[in-house]
Symmetry: C2
Subunit: 340 residues, 2 copies
DNA sequence: CTGAAAGCGCTTACAG
DNA sequence: CTGAAAGCGCTTACAG
């Protein structure tokens, strides 16, 4: 069954394609009678406009691209949900690509999306992304791009983030407030700005409270996995039995650490208090439940789309676009792992 | 900066658009020299073919649609990952829509995708989907559709599933094998076929082992949440203190139940052995860790795309399409919740 | 080996 | 109020 076209409706009704097109779009210069006739016929034939033709004419696809490092991940899937629900409200569709934290793949995917003629791009950078030509190419093509969570400070576009440094400070301050004197940190990889910022927030909190910063208390995670949490937890009690507080870059690692502490009879929070980061669902159901920083993924997705949408609209209407950097508030969720 | 078109390349080189197009696509009837020239110029100008125009001519978009009930969900996000990685390998992009378990939304989204002229559709049905006109419309338009996980048996198309009944049987048999005599079941909602099948597998296993099926031991979950697991666990020990085994429709509910049992001093597995379903990551890290059925989401996504791809290809080449029903194997993962 | 021409299905400025 | 015509950027059957 071939799809129905404007021409067919026009032939059936013995009017021109022009009039059919205008009638369907409720142009004011078409008679009521014609409109009714056209709409009825379109309905009966189950007419659906060919989007390729529409796109080709109007030069917009009502589609945006989303590049994300990893889909199977509580935070990122929440972001995806926020994006697609907001997009749908505005009549947009979302093409999702996964960079697998690979710079090369990310570059290729940007190119694919540009070829696809998406109206804009949302991206959270891969950890391995160190150069930004591909992002600048998007900007050169005058195509809106909004970065979220893992951003490049040097690229001139709108961004949605949380203040990782402040959040980490908050987490560390909480450990200090409940009486911890010697606080360790499991940090993320050296590269993405987020883990640097979280580390800096941790360090700043120590300094502001006159606690000595001891670099041997900082452990660097590479793959941010459950097992890494277990291993460093083990290492930590072997190397620094006097540590009484621990701030961990991400909940998954923290859950691994708690599991290892539980196994070895180290009592959380009595022997060592722990704060994680992300507020995964999991963190609320383990025992002891994990104090953590809530990272608002869904909201971040919504906000990122809204910024992108606004830019798309403004560009179309030739209104000057101002880039915004939106910082979403975070919250410390207190649970058993820091409750005495 | 306006995008570069074939025309521009043609004008620069003083040849026809036809030749440029053919040169870029390596038609054999273009001279080597011309090809070289054209390709160099295209590269210099950073030419990217306008996909709308290409799509309009070739009548394919190299894009498929995916409708999924919920994005923030370990199983489904694994499926998404499987689909997009397989799609990318074959030069396809994926538009993702979320039905939120709503039949109405699902219908609307099917329509959106058809308008969008996607080359095919992958779908896992909403729980509330009871009629199938929208799916049949896709088939009427001669557009391939493949269903996975939550399928409609009555719709005539390819499907990728696990055998829920067999899997539930396996789970229940395991409880019986370790000595459970009185086995309860927290089942899913009355509607989706999956929870019906899991219930039937549970019942069959009891019968085959000459254990009496007692309907008062079956609790019906509605929202399949952590809290529901807690609540039913509480109810279960109040109403049936002699139950020694429990098969639960999904891990999230099971984790809730375990948490409640832990709280009330009911020892898992000594007092009550538990088997879940899905093999979420969480299940391996809680205490006691949860025995469960591994549901291969990533593989399911890959397989579903492969089937769809094959259908798209066959249709294009006018090869007859045979619908397939693929059943992926599942595995029982034994952990502490059933280990004595 | 090259190119003029038709056409994919739509939108819209313009004429009447 | 209606419609002929141009054009979006490409592909491809056909002529030379």
């Amino acid at each position: 069954m071939k799809p129905v076209t404007l021409r067919q409706i026009a032939e059936i009704l013995n009017i021109s394609i022009t009039t059919v097109s205008k009638a369907l779009k409720d142009y004011p210069d078409v008679s009521k009678k014609t409109k009714r006739l056209v709409k009825e016929t379109a309905k009966t034939l189950n007419y659906k406009p060919n989007s390729f033709a529409v796109n080709l004419r109007t030069r917009e696809s009502k589609t945006i691209g989303l590049i994300i490092p990893e889909v199977v991940h509580h935070f990122f899937s929440s972001v995806i949900k926020g994006i697609i629900s907001q997009a749908e409200k505005n009549g947009y569709m979302v093409i999702i690509l996964q960079s697998n934290e690979s710079f090369e793949l990310e570059k290729k995917q940007i190119d694919l999306l540009l070829r696809k003629q998406v109206d804009g791009i949302l991206i959270s950078l891969a950890n391995s992304t160190v150069r930004y030509e591909h992002l600048n190419e998007v900007l050169d093509q005058n195509k809106p791009i909004v970065m979220f969570d893992k951003i490049a400070k040097l690229v001139n576009c709108s961004k949605v983030i949380i203040n990782d440094r402040k959040a980490a400070y908050l987490a560390t301050q909480h450990l200090i407030d409940i009486g911890c004197k010697r606080i360790a940190h499991f940090r993320g990889p050296l590269l993405p700005q987020n883990s640097i910022d979280r580390f800096l927030g941790y360090k700043k909190a120590l300094e502001d409270n006159n606690l000595i910063y001891d670099s041997s208390l900082v452990y660097v995670c590479n793959d941010m996995s459950f097992d890494e949490g277990k291993n460093f937890a083990k290492q930590l009690i072997e190397e620094h039995s006097n540590v009484d507080g621990l701030f961990i870059n991400t909940d998954l690692v923290a859950v691994g650490a708690i599991s290892e502490f539980n196994k070895r009879g180290v009592i959380v929070p009595k022997d060592i208090a722990i704060v994680g980061f992300s507020n995964w669902f999991m963190s609320s159901v383990i025992s002891p439940s994990l104090t953590t920083i809530d990272q608002p993924g869904y909201k971040m997705g919504k906000k990122a789309f809204k910024l992108l949408y606004k830019e798309i609209k403004n560009k179309k209407e030739n209104i000057e676009v101002k880039y915004k950097k939106v910082e979403l508030p975070v919250q410390l969720i207190k649970r058993e792992s820091t409750a005495f």
